[in-house]
């Protein structure tokens, strides 16, 4: 199977490409990236810029995709997804979650370990990978637990988890409160050069909280989650990372204070990175008014000041990654009193459109910067080989984006099994029109 993508603007920050080029794919790999000029195919790349006189590729390919006016990028990577399988297949499955990812332009996703059972042993990791092989539309990279049963007491068999395919460690959703355990997990993880991806939350500060502690929670009488509940833990984990030398990636950063700590640590050379979700970048706690349970997530939507700081950090590179924290929940679970509703929203199918609408079209981020944060950086942080780039020889995971395509987020079009999104009905500009995984087209806009 040979696939030729012609005439698109190819953006690949990893290989310094940003030009109108053609991409030739074969056997699930990038075969060539270059320019069709008459019958000549001019190969581009950092090393090889000499024109070659090959056969015009159009004559020998199985499919030609005309990407004129579109953006061709390395397949997007979402570092933070909850697939719910095993255990809550009513909310999401590996099949439905990866289908949603494909529609959203993601070719690889990392699944958090808080399934039922949790992913704290190689056998669960293997199950997920096998299932993903069988029914997954996109690549699935499991994240393993830091502690057994996410109980925060004893280390998992991290070596086994890595051998089985885990690319990172996290007790997402149940933060590790025991600082000694966190320290040892970091030390242990350095043996495998695997990053820790903590959900930073000091539970004693956030206990009972359901919304950002701020003006809105004050007015609505909701128990608040102070911004310091996150920042205190970010501080601890940065200090431990610095002490142990472990690689640290802070999940869903949401507060000004956390950003200050990360910025300062990075300046000092600490190996820390951070991610931001589209919802924390676009919504504030004002969305909670009316007790809208689809605005309930953890960390909570913060006030405008925190959101502005997060935007600045994303733009200046302090926050390297955009990740969705895609968290499917059954309708009935969200259709309840605010306090009782579970935290989280889905995000795979709206992330790219939201970021293009709110950041690219608002001239806050360029397209290469967006690709860097949604593909290049995740691959780099997770050390995903041959991913996050369109270099010759890389995996043929490609996203073709129409940055000007206008669309509306419609509930009935969502491929995720759960529909808990606050963005339903939003009119967006920009969407993935084709998603290619290992050389195969897994999503195409109808």
């Amino acid at each position: 199977m040979r696939l030729l993508i012609t005439g698109g603007r190819v953006i690949d920050p990893a290989s310094g490409l940003d030009d109108t080029l053609d991409v030739l794919v074969e056997e699930g790999q990038i075969l060539q990236v270059g320019k069709v000029r008459g019958s000549a195919f001019r190969v581009q790349g950092k090393k090889n810029k000499k024109p070659t006189n090959q056969e015009p590729p159009t004559s020998s390919v199985d499919r030609v995709v005309d990407a004129t006016g579109k953006i061709v990028t390395p397949g997007l990577i979402d570092m933070h997804v909850h697939l719910r399988e095993p255990g809550r297949e009513d909310e999401e499955t590996i099949a439905s979650g990866t289908a949603a990812a494909a529609r959203g332009g993601f070719t690889s996703i990392c699944c958090m370990p808080n399934t039922e059972p949790v992913n704290d042993t190689a056998s669960v990791t293997e199950y997920i990978r096998e299932q993903a092989q069988k029914v997954g539309r996109v690549h699935v990279f499991p994240i393993g637990c830091i502690s057994r049963a996410q109980q925060g007491q004893g280390l998992t068999e991290i070596g086994d988890l890595v051998a089985a395919g885990c690319v990172g460690l996290s007790d997402d959703g149940r933060p590790v409160m025991n600082a000694e355990l966190m320290r040892r997990a970091m030390e242990y993880a350095t043996m495998f050069d695997i990053p820790l991806l903590p959900h930073c939350e000091e539970l004693s500060l956030s206990a009972g909280g359901v919304a950002h502690e701020g003006r809105v929670s004050t007015e609505l009488g909701l128990k608040g989650i102070p911004s310091t509940a996150e920042a205190v833990m970010v501080g601890r984990d940065i200090l431990l990372s610095e002490y142990t030398g472990a690689r640290l990636h802070i999940c869903h950063v949401s507060t000004d204070e956390s950003i200050r700590l990360i910025r300062e640590a990075r300046a000092r050379g600490v190996r820390v990175s951070g991610e931001a979700t589209p919802h924390h970048l676009i919504l504030t706690d004002e969305a909670v008014r009316g007790f809208t349970t689809n605005a309930k997530m953890n960390p909570p939507l913060r006030s405008a000041g925190h959101m502005t700081a997060l935007r600045e950090a994303l733009i200046d590179g302090t926050i390297e990654v955009i990740a969705t924290d895609h968290a499917p929940h059954a309708h009935a679970e969200k259709e309840t009193e605010f306090d009782y509703a579970p935290f989280g929203i889905i995000g795979l199918e709206t992330a790219l459109g939201l970021i293009l609408t709110e950041f690219f079209h608002s001239r806050l981020l360029t397209l290469p910067m967006i690709v860097e944060r949604m593909a290049t950086a995740p691959a780099r942080i997770l050390k995903l080989k041959h991913k996050g780039t369109l270099a010759v020889g890389a995996d043929a995971d490609i996203t073709i984006i129409d940055p000007d395509r206008k669309w509306t987020v419609e509930e009935h079009e969502l491929r995720s099994k759960s529909k808990n999104s606050p963005f339903i009905g939003w009119k967006l500009k920009g969407q993935a029109v084709m998603t290619i995984v290992a050389g195969q087209v897994v999503w195409e806009t109808p």
């Binding site: 004050t218 007015e219 609505l220 009488g221 009193e337 306090d339």
Partner: protein, 310 residues
């Protein structure tokens, strides 16, 4: 003239004119309670359901009597949340009740926003009888009514609210109601029980009780809820009483004849001394009596036909 809404969920959503309309209607209703035969036929054939997810004697009884004086059929459903979470959800309970065609559902619930959940989905008029730390609009209305009845006006008065402001729905509703009717509100309490963003509520806060009550026309003491304040918020009730309790000695620092209010039930000797609670300037029992008039007024105003809105 009618309320511009199907439900009464918050004071925040009310226009000042609506507040005055409710108070005026209550003023007319109050006479019914003075009659030998305390019943008028206005709500004959109407069904009112008291749906209480928290223990409450005075509010539930007040709504029940108000409904009965207006000839409505009043049904009480008491439920604890713990038993509910095992069984039917609030929404399912609401839908079941709706199928019985009630005209009004009065709900008290520990979770902020629970009344709105019902209001958005049920045809019946929903009255919030207290939702968590959010609002308790009928309490604020009866408090305004009591102040207006005694002092003849609201505009320009100064009221001090003292106690656990942070967790108090009574404080939240009263602050809104008072601001909308031209009352200057200041609140006082221990630093751990003051809201972190008082400007959002539109009040001045202080930890100095005597400064707060110095030129107040009315002092409203809030109940210290022993069950809600964990050991991290208050060292002891003894110290709370010493710093923030209202007693005769402290009252000397306030204006002569300052009126004393309390939403009840009282913790005598904690936030308020018996001499003050039972003293000549205490409006505490007037508040209870006036609660009936306010609730009659609301039941009446919310059971009108609303051809344009429904």
């Amino acid at each position: 003239m009618t309320l511009k809404r199907k439900d009464l969920l918050t004071i925040r959503e009310l226009e000042p004119e609506e507040i005055h309309q409710i108070l005026d209607t209550a003023d007319s209703m109050k006479e019914i309670g003075t009659r030998e035969i305390k019943k008028v036929p206005a709500l004959r054939g109407k069904t009112v359901i008291n749906l209480f997810y928290e223990a409450s004697t005075r509010t539930r009884t007040s709504f029940e009597i108000a409904g009965k004086w207006l000839s409505a059929d009043v049904i009480n459903i008491a439920s604890t949340v713990s038993s509910m979470t095992k069984g039917e959800s609030l929404l399912d309970t609401g839908k079941t009740l709706q199928a019985m065609r009630p005209d009004v559902v009065i709900i008290r619930h520990p979770v902020p926003g629970a009344p709105k959940l019902l209001a958005d989905r049920l045809q019946a008029a929903i009255i919030n009888a207290g939702d968590g730390a959010h609002e308790h609009p009928t309490q604020a209305l009866l408090d305004l009514f009591t102040i207006r009845e005694r002092l003849g006006r609201l505009e320009g008065l100064r009221v001090a609210i003292v106690g656990d402001i942070s967790h108090s729905r009574v404080a939240r509703s009263n602050i809104q109601a008072m601001r909308k009717t031209g009352i200057e509100v200041r609140v006082a309490g221990p630093a751990t029980l003051l809201p972190r963003y008082p400007e959002q509520l539109g009040v001045q806060v202080t930890t100095d009780l005597e400064a707060a009550i110095a030129d107040a026309d009315v002092i409203m003491m809030l109940r210290i809820q022993r069950e809600r304040q964990g050991p991290t918020l208050l060292p002891s009730l003894r110290e709370y009483s010493r710093l923030f309790g209202l007693n005769v000695e402290r009252l000397k620092k306030a204006k002569e004849g300052v009126l004393i209010m309390h939403p009840g039930p009282l913790n005598r000797g904690v936030e308020i001394s018996p001499e003050v609670a039972d003293g000549p300037y205490s409006l505490i029992l007037d508040q209870v009596t006036n609660g009936l008039a306010i609730r009659m007024a609301l039941l009446y105003l919310l059971t009108g036909g609303h051809p344009a809105e429904r």
